[in-house]
Structure formats: structure tokens, C-alpha cells
């Protein structure tokens, strides 16, 4: 149980599963990496980023920039302004609307996607900074006739009402179970503390995530 402000909260994930800032994907983090990294590590980062990134040493924008994002295993070309966030690029440019824009400042988790194995808030990642990463969205897990076990568990336990927070929760749960395949209830409550629901579906969500863990382990759908 963490604290934020003066109120009791548990709406943040553990520091090790933080979705933003410290996770190394922010633009600021990248720039700091370059500044400090005169050694091999820094150069390595720069080289990897450079494969897909716009002019090295120069700057991007302010107009549209052609970028390539690897989304659900497929390289996807698009043109966005450098200031456009990943969630806006997904929703407005690519018509991938599973991730929702709700708080737009890394609080509620409705825009959750998985980026190179880490759960991130897509509202707080710039699209151009997502180049070179493996981006997994709700559209990329499961298939039309075989939904992902987490999605199925949400149905079985009625873990959704209006459903607007649901895709974010499903992605957060998937990312959580990838790291924590045998969770306790307490771990579920902590691990999904970075997502918020307004209709009040947490009772179903707790059960759904525990069930999904068993399903995935049993290899049914895995």
C-alpha cells in the first residue's frame, strides 16, 4: 500500500513495474542517456535508436515526421508530429482504438500497452520514442475466434461494466501475469494498482486475474 498526497492509495504499481519516467522510455531519459553515455553503453543505445529514428544529431519536427513503429509484430509506417503521444498515434492515426485516452497524464491506465515487455501508459510515451520497440496492444493479443485468456476471464467474472477501462486493465493484467505467473490476491491488488475503473468492477477483476493465471499456466490458450 503506497501513499500519494495525503490520501491512502494503492493506485501505483511497484517501482520496478513503473510505467513511465524511470522505465527508460521517456524522451528525457533518452537524452540523458546520450549525455552521460560517452562509453560503450551510450553508444549502443544511440545506435539502436538510430536505426529507426529521424536525423541523428538534428531535430525532428515541428511538422510531420515519417516513423516506423513495430506494433503487434508488424512494422507500421506513419507520419506524426514529434509531440504526438503513442496513444494519440494509435487511436487517431492508426485507428487502433482499444487503448483509451482518459486522464492523459499517466494516472488511470486506460491507455496501457506493453512495450518491449514492459507495461507502459501510452499517453506518456511519445510516438517517435516508441520506435525500435516491440509494441503490443489489445488488438494484438488473442485472435478473433480465440480471445486471450485474460480477456475471457474478464467475461467469466463480469469484470467490466461500461468497459472503457477494460482494454487497459486487460493489458496491465497480461503484463503483470507475464512477470508474476503465480500471483497471490495481494500481488494482484498491487500489480493492477496503476489502473482505475469508475463503474466499480474491481471485485470481478481480482477474480478474473487469478483465474487467467491458472488458465495460462494450464496452457489452455497460452
Amino acid at each position: 500500500m503506497g501513499t500519494k498526497g495525503r490520501c491512502l492509495v494503492s493506485s501505483r504499481k511497484d517501482p520496478d513495474v513503473s510505467k513511465t519516467g524511470q522505465s527508460g522510455f521517456s524522451r528525457r531519459g533518452f537524452m540523458q542517456g546520450i549525455g552521460v553515455g560517452s562509453g560503450a553503453l551510450g553508444a549502443g543505445i544511440l545506435e539502436n535508436e538510430a536505426q529507426a529514428a529521424p536525423p541523428p544529431g538534428g531535430f525532428s519536427g515541428p511538422g510531420g515526421v515519417a516513423i516506423t513503429l513495430r506494433i503487434n509484430g508488424k512494422p507500421t509506417n506513419l507520419t506524426v508530429e514529434p509531440r504526438v503521444t503513442l496513444v494519440d498515434a494509435l487511436r487517431n492515426t492508426l485507428d487502433m482504438t482499444g487503448a483509451k485516452k482518459v486522464c492523459d497524464r499517466a494516472t488511470c491506465g486506460a491507455c496501457t500497452v506493453i512495450m518491449s515487455g514492459k507495461v507502459v501508459y501510452a499517453c506518456s510515451v511519445l510516438a517517435i520514442d516508441a520506435q525500435g520497440k516491440d509494441i503490443q496492444t489489445i488488438e494484438g493479443i488473442g485472435s478473433g475466434n480465440k480471445p486471450h485468456p485474460v480477456s475471457m476471464a474478464f467475461v467469466h467474472h463480469d469484470a467490466q461494466q461500461c468497459g472503457y477501462c477494460t482494454p487497459g486493465f486487460v493489458m496491465a493484467a497480461k503484463g503483470f501475469l507475464d512477470r508474476t505467473p503465480n500471483p497471490t490476491l495481494e500481488q494482484v491488488e498491487k500489480g493492477l494498482g496503476g489502473n482505475l475503473c469508475r463503474c466499480g468492477t474491481y471485485v470481478g477483476i481480482r477474480q478474473a486475474v487469478l483465474e487467467a493465471a491458472k488458465e495460462i499456466k494450464g496452457g489452455k490458450n497460452g
Binding site: 491512502l8 482504438t97 487503448a99 482518459v102 486522464c103 494516472t107 461494466q161 486487460v170 494498482g193 466499480g200
Partner: protein
């Protein structure tokens, strides 16, 4: 006339079963398309410029720089010079552009001059409201002075419940395309049938010009009935941009500032009782704000309406803040909070178990038997008898446990709903009504009723909702949807069946009224051997399509739906008296809702109501800055909702009993969301031995109350 009554409990195949919601997979795979998910080629984005002052007059506005910006297609002035603005966040101008970012750039280029005027944004201290407080006039019943002087015990207390917002995750907004004579309107709305007419009226157009479509809504809770200024502006921006569709959804800051609030309520209450707990007198001086229009008058005393001697005064305070909208059970959360806190304090003074006090006074309510039974059931589920202790008598350690109780009531009934049932000669079935599914499970309920009536599986029903070309069905408010749509669907499907019986009676050698629809067959009643399969029966229609209507009769629902439900809520909390942190341990909610169509969905409604109530009890409050008049926490970081780890154990008990069942269907969305903050506040008082006068029960307030500094 056909008999429309519900099949007896024991004969229902689908109604009453714990079926999964039909749109569950669409939602949990991200495929469900909400209004805000709609994209179209060439679509533009709309943005508002809002006023930073709580009270101001616009003196000048210059949009020329915004109009010249590349990518901007339209700029409109909403508040012309001379306009007096009454709250921060009010809309001043609107812009359409090729992207949200460009639209925001344009908004920043608009120059507005303001004459800043004095404002009032806080209402907790009524003595500072001056002429902004409007008294509603005194209501007197019996002889209160006599009751107080003869009482064995009296209690006086002050209580407060703040303004909170709806905080719908999908913000208010829409996509509008105004091309020629036709307007395509895709709003996030609780009112698909009526919202098109509302937009048309604002644009001075015939309602027939507006085509409304909405498949999914990301939360409404009472705040999304009208077309609103953003609907009108989107339409005008679309027209001004050559008919291109304009998407305009409020950003979170604007959403939390102007898109609706629940009014506050504050009161000084005095109650009296005899030694045995019998209530004899009630006095309340209450006040509230719901924004500039005042608003918010909680019905007091709540539920215990027949306390013999009463005197009540209420004032509505006009503040320079965003306006009130219906919020899941308007006025009831406030009323039960003010009433049940006072009664719990009185019980503590009497050294009486509040369950006993409530049971003792059940005759002062409209439904004594229901409440007595619910008190019993809830006590059992909470293990109240074993866990309850006298106030403050909770051991020596710093962490104290306590139990609290509160009561709820709501109306319900069925809204004005019409349904069309279409049976095609190939056996396919359309069920058509212009309802919406707020996430309560309306799609599932309608399909259960239709399939039950037609003797078919759920998969046989092709349900069409969310389009205003379908038969009208009322707005989803007041917990009236389930009553309305289930009744109209029942009637339409029975009417359609009658037509099918007429077509096949001869071939089964029976009269029309001797037939029934069972297990996918049309058969002579009780004779599965004298039957046609559904498909074979429909083939007898030849080229004729059956299309029959059914309507809920609000004046005479015929036992299909009813009004009036109750609920008892009990909370168990743990309070750390060193940190002031309140932790939910267990919550029990017992509700009746007449005939229960789907217990799984009903329980989800209750869970949702309880969790929303936990948010308002512990963390939720719109905080205004007295100096600037602005909302300080118009974001989701500091406008705090509870997370998955904050809710404790929740036991939802929906009473499935013959005496409730025979009343017909009653909505549950609102009654389940009423008495939670009151129960939690009472549990905290029971745990720590003192009353925290105001919610949310934040650590600072708890610590202050412990130190004798209630504020």
C-alpha cells in the same frame, strides 16, 4: 387481450439465470467501438477555449491569429464581448482543426480580455454565503419543541458531504457531421432516443434531420442526457468546415470542471428519542450547492419519513462553479448520510446497537417488513452480532476496528419504452428498440426476455439498439431502463408470437390460444408430439414478415415492472489512529429489486455501487481554490478514485424472494449506490469513538477529529 405476465419463477429457462453479459468479449478484446473511438476520413478535431476566471465579463475577443494558423478550419466565438461568465471552465470559443494538437495551438492564439468580477466558490460555511443562499422555507410537522422537551435523549450534530464529479472515463463529447440537410450525430449519451431532438432544437432544425448512433458509452452516471453545448458547437464547426465530421471530446481538466457534479450537503441536525430508541423528533438546518443554479435538496429525514415531530429548513447556495447534473441517485447519498450519521450518533448516546435502533423504528418507514428482513440478512452476512462493540470500545492498540450501518430507498419503475419484434419467414428474429446499454447489461437483459418468451436460445435473437431510427425507448436515468425495456420486449415478442400462432394453428389442428413456444418449437400446449420446429413454423409465413410492437404502459405496468426498493448497507473498517488511514475490511450490501432477471449482472451493479461509494467516502472531493475560484484537482491524480487494492471484501446480496418476484422488475443501478458513504462514516465513528463530521474521510480529517478539531 394477450397475457403478458412473466412466466412463473420455476418455469423460467433464461430469466433469473447467471448468464454472462453478451457484449463482454467485444469489450474485453478492445473491439467495442465507443463514440470517442469513431474515426472517419478527413475528420477534424474540435477544442474549446475556456474561461480561467470564476466570475468575469468578456471585454474583447480576437480570433484572427487562430484563424490564420495552418490546419485550422473554423473558429467560433461563444462568449461575445459583454457576456458575463459565472464559473471557471465555461466555454468562450471553439476551434476545429486537422488535429487535436493544432486545435490546441489555435486555442492558445485566441486573445480574450476579461473584467474580473467577485466570486463565491465555497459553501461549507453558510454564514459567508450572504445573499447567495436562498432559503426554501420551513417545513413543520407535529410539535417539535414538546418532543424535544419530553425526550429521554437528544443529540445534536453537524455533518457535511462535498461536491463530487461524475468522472466518466469516456469524457463528454461526440462526432458530428453536418452535411447538407443531414446531421450524423455520434454522441456518448444515456439518451439515444432523445438526444437528437435536443441537438435539432438547439440548431433550430426539425428533429428528423438528426441521425443518432451509439453502440457503447464509457460511463454516464446521470451526466449524459443532453446534446450540450459541445454537441451544438461540433455541429456548427462541422458546418463551417464544409461538412467534415468534427470529433470533440472534453479534455480531463474541462470534463472534471464543467461536465457535471453531484451537489454537496451540509446540515446541523437534532434528533430525539425515548429510552427504548423510539424516534420522536427531527430538526435539520441544511444547505447545499450544485453550482450557479443552486440545487440539491436532500429529502430529510431519509427513509424514516414518519418521525412524528419535524422541523426542516434548507438553503440552496449559488456558487461560481460548474453546474449540477443528475448523479446516480440524486440527493439520496446526501440524505442518507445526514440522516444515518445523526441516528448512529444518537444510538451511541443511548448505548444502543444501531441495528436495534433501525429495527425499532422500521415502522416509521414506508416498507417496515422489507427493512426488518434486510437488517436481519445483512447482520447475518456481516456477523454483526459478534463483531459489533460500543462506540470507541475497540481495544488498546493504535488500529481500531468498527462497524457502521446505513439505509437506502429508490423508486425505479419502467421508462417509456417501445420495442419491435420482427419474425422473418426463415426463422430469424430482430428485436429493435432505441435503448442504450450503459454497461449495466441492458443488451443481455433484453435478449434474455426475448429468448425466454419465444422459447429459443439467446443466440437466436438479433438485437438492435443504439440508433434513433429504431422504436423510441426512454433515457437511462432513475433506474428505469430495465423495467421499461423488459416490459416492451415482453409485449412485442408475445404480440409477434400471437401472429405466428395464427399462421400455424391450422396446420397443427389447434386453435391459436392452444399453442405455446417451448424449446425451439411451436406446439400444442403440453404436447411436444404435436409440434413444428421454430423454423418450420416460420416457413408457414410464406413471404409475410411478422412485425409487432410492444410498449411499456407506465400508468399500468401490469405487474411487469414496479417502483420502490430498499437496501441495507453495513461497513467494517480498520482505522489507524496514528496515521489517520481508513482501510476497508468488509462491506455487506443487501438489496431487493423485484424480479431478478440476471443475478450475476445484479451483483455487478451492487459491487459497482459499493465501490463508487467507497470512493466518495474515502477520497473523492472536488476542491476549489477560494482565491482564484478554480478547481484545484481537475485531474485523476488528485481527484482520487479508489484502486483495486482499496476496497476490501464486498458481499453483494440480491434478495430473490417470491414476495419481491411477484412485483415485477425494478432497477438496481441507483439504490445500490446510495448508503455506502454513510455506512463507512458510521463505521469510522464506531471504531475511533468520535465523529468525523465531513467526508471524504481523509487521514487529516480523521486525525483532526481524534484531536477534537472537527472541521
Amino acid at each position: 387481450m394477450a397475457n403478458y405476465s412473466w412466466p412463473p419463477m420455476e418455469k423460467r429457462r433464461l430469466m433469473g439465470k447467471r448468464l454472462e453479459r453478451l457484449d463482454g468479449i467485444a469489450k474485453s478484446t478492445g473491439r467495442a467501438k465507443y463514440a470517442s473511438d469513431f474515426n472517419a476520413p478527413g475528420m477534424l478535431f474540435g477544442e474549446f477555449l475556456t474561461c480561467p476566471h470564476a466570475h468575469a465579463r468578456v471585454t474583447s475577443i480576437d480570433t484572427s491569429a487562430a484563424e490564420k494558423l495552418n490546419g485550422v478550419t473554423a473558429v467560433r466565438v461563444i462568449a461575445k464581448p459583454g457576456t458575463e461568465i459565472q464559473w471557471a471552465g465555461a466555454e468562450v470559443a471553439s476551434v476545429a482543426a486537422i488535429s487535436e494538437d493544432v486545435a490546441r495551438d489555435a486555442v492558445r492564439l485566441i486573445k480574450v480580455g476579461y473584467e474580473v468580477l467577485p466570486h463565491l466558490v465555497k459553501e461549507d460555511d453558510i454564514s459567508k454565503a450572504g445573499t447567495r443562499a436562498k432559503a426554501a422555507g420551513e417545513t413543520v410537522t407535529g410539535d417539535l419543541e414538546k418532543a424535544f422537551s419530553e425526550a429521554d435523549v437528544t443529540h445534536e450534530g453537524s455533518y457535511g458531504i462535498p461536491v463530487i464529479t461524475h468522472c466518466c472515463l469516456e469524457p463528454h463529447g461526440q462526432v458530428v457531421e453536418w452535411k447538407g440537410k443531414e446531421i450524423n450525430f455520434r454522441p456518448s449519451t444515456q439518451n439515444v432516443t432523445g438526444v437528437g431532438g435536443d441537438l435539432a432544437k438547439n440548431l433550430q432544425l426539425p428533429a428528423t434531420d438528426v441521425h443518432v448512433k451509439m453502440d457503447y458509452i464509457g460511463g454516464g452516471f446521470g451526466s449524459k442526457f443532453a446534446a450540450d453545448l459541445w454537441g451544438v458547437e461540433s455541429a456548427q464547426l462541422s458546418k463551417a468546415s464544409g461538412g467534415k465530421p468534427v470529433k470533440m471530446f472534453l479534455d480531463r481538466r474541462t470534463e472534471l470542471t464543467i461536465a457535471g457534479v453531484r451537489p454537496s450537503a451540509f446540515a446541523k441536525v437534532k434528533v430525539s428519542a425515548k429510552k427504548d430508541g423510539t424516534l420522536t423528533g427531527w430538526q435539520s438546518d441544511s444547505w447545499a450547492t450544485g453550482g450557479f443554479g443552486g440545487g440539491g435538496s436532500p429529502p430529510l429525514p431519509y427513509v424514516f419519513i414518519n418521525i412524528p415531530n419535524q422541523k426542516k429548513n434548507h438553503s440552496a447556495i449559488s456558487t461560481n462553479t460548474g453546474g449540477v447534473r443528475a448523479w446516480r441517485a440524486p440527493n439520496h447519498q446526501q440524505a442518507t448520510y445526514l440522516t444515518c450519521c445523526a441516528l448512529e450518533d444518537l444510538a451511541a448516546k443511548l448505548k444502543m446497537d444501531p441495528v436495534e435502533l433501525f429495527a425499532k423504528n422500521a415502522d416509521l418507514t414506508a416498507r417496515p417488513e422489507v427493512y426488518r428482513n434486510q437488517l436481519k440478512k445483512a447482520s447475518e452476512l456481516m456477523d454483526w452480532g459478534k463483531k459489533w462493540h460500543q462506540r470507541g470500545d475497540s481495544g488498546a492498540g493504535p488500529v481500531k476496528r468498527g462497524l457502521g450501518l446505513a439505509i437506502a430507498t429508490w423508486g425505479g419503475g419502467g421508462h417509456n419504452s417501445q420495442c419491435r419484434a420482427v419474425i422473418h419467414p426463415d426463422g430469424a428474429i430482430d428485436i429493435e428498440l432505441c435503448s442504450q446499454d450503459l454497461g449495466t447489461g441492458t443488451r443481455t437483459i433484453i435478449t434474455q426476455v426475448a429468448a425466454e418468451t419465444l422459447g429459443l436460445p439467446m443466440s437466436a435473437i438479433n438485437l438492435k439498439i443504439g440508433d434513433n431510427s429504431l422504436p423510441p425507448s426512454g433515457p437511462s436515468g432513475g433506474s428505469t431502463t430495465v423495467g421499461g425495456v423488459s416490459s416492451s420486449t415482453r409485449k412485442a415478442t408475445i404480440n409477434a408470437l400471437e401472429k405466428l400462432y395464427e399462421a400455424v394453428a391450422a396446420s397443427l389442428g389447434a386453435k391459436q390460444d392452444e399453442l405455446e413456444a417451448v424449446d425451439g418449437r411451436i406446439q400444442v400446449k403440453g404436447h411436444p408430439d404435436k409440434a413444428l420446429t421454430w423454423k418450420a413454423a416460420c416457413q408457414k409465413l410464406g413471404v409475410k414478415v411478422i412485425s409487432e410492437m410492444g410498449a411499456n404502459d407506465q400508468k399500468n405496468p401490469g405487474g411487469l415492472n414496479a417502483q420502490g426498493v430498499g437496501g441495507i448497507n453495513m461497513a467494517e473498517v480498520e482505522v489507524d489512529t496514528e496515521t489517520g488511514i481508513v482501510k476497508m475490511k468488509k462491506f455487506v450490501a443487501v438489496n431487493d429489486c423485484g424480479l431478478v432477471v440476471n443475478p450475476r449482472l445484479a451483483e455487478s451493479q451492487i459491487h459497482g455501487g459499493v465501490i463508487m461509494g467507497i470512493c466518495s467516502a474515502l477520497t473523492e472531493e472536488r476542491i476549489l481554490d477560494a482565491a482564484t475560484g478554480r478547481v484545484l484537482n481537475a485531474d485523476m491524480e488528485f481527484y482520487k478514485l479508489s484502486g483495486v487494492g482499496d476496497i476490501g471484501e464486498i458481499v453483494a446480496h440480491v434478495e430473490v424472494l417470491p414476495e419481491h418476484d411477484k412485483r415485477g422488475i425494478v432497477g438496481l443501478g441507483e439504490p445500490s449506490a446510495i448508503a455506502i458513504p454513510a455506512a463507512i462514516a458510521n463505521a469510522v465513528a464506531n471504531a475511533i469513538g468520535v465523529r468525523v463530521q465531513r467526508i471524504p474521510l481523509t487521514p487529516d480529517r480523521v486525525l483532526a477529529a481524534l484531536e477534537g478539531r472537527n472541521a
